[in-house]
Amino acid sequence: MKLRDVRDILDAEVIVGEDNLDLEVQTAFGADLMSDVLAFAKSGSLLLTGLTNTQVIRTANVLDIAAIILVRGKRPSTETIALAKELKIPILATKYILFETAGRLYAKGIVGCLQKVDTSGRS
């Protein structure tokens, strides 16, 4: 689906990236821990998170995340918005909680960028 469909499904406000709503997205990852995002999220995915500081944008940039969906009514800081504009990473904000956000997107065809993690290599 397109980012504009994501916006409509989540009744979200587009904070950065009004020009990027035709972007095609198929997968998503959700977490507030950026190290987990770095460990597991795949490029081109949506990032669903409640974290609003600049590290969310840095993390998204490192991974080539398609767009950030801020959940639970969180608002990004002005620094976060400025950096997102600079690095051209869309930010959408929804009032739905993380569980509802994920569920509503999943019901419309967005899937996880992975289903389960591989823990076999863990010491």
């Binding site: 507030d32 490029s43 490192v62």
Partner: protein, 159 residues
């Protein structure tokens, strides 16, 4: 007690002198400056992209340098990142002046962390940084001296 610990997870091969460097440069990290955390890895990412390094390699290099940068900002006074790209690999070294790591084996354990609230508020500090760095590198080497600092070497091979 001043003690030097070193754990090599995989043997490092020195970069051959015959290899032609595609890029070599250094970047400074200011410890405690949480606003700037991530700037170096953002630069590294665009440099590698411009060099035409494959996307997957660029992403891995950006992830390891970003996690290392977060560590320097979180714990050290300052750090120096050296990026060296040759025909076969991306080499990233991060050397900091900081408290050092008393027990590297413990620090390498997933979930072990000494992070404070400020680090956790950034979305880090869950004891995954060094694991992520190791997992995304083809070769990873860490040595640390308590009271002096920590030195990381990461190599990612390009196909």
């Amino acid at each position: 007690m001043q003690k030097e610990s070193s754990v090599a997870y995989k043997k490092l091969t020195p970069v051959g002198e015959a290899n032609h460097n595609l890029y070599s440069g250094t970047f400074h990290i200011e410890g405690g400056n949480f606003n700037s955390a991530g700037m170096v890895s953002t630069s590294i990412k665009s440099i590698l992209k411009e060099l035409g390094i494959p996307g997957d390699i660029v992403r891995r290099a950006a992830i390891v340098s970003y996690e290392a940068e977060i560590n320097v900002v979180s714990y050290a006074k300052k750090g120096l990142v050296t990026l060296l790209v040759d025909a076969g690999s991306v080499n990233i070294e991060v050397k900091d002046e900081g408290p050092g790591i008393p027990n590297i084996e413990l620090a390498m354990q997933e979930g072990y962390s000494t992070a404070d609230q400020r680090i956790r508020e950034m979305g880090f500090g869950a004891g995954m940084g060094l694991c992520n760095i190791k997992n995304y590198s083809d070769l990873f080497h860490i040595e640390s001296e308590v009271g002096k600092g920590t030195h990381l070497k990461m190599i990612i091979y390009t196909p």
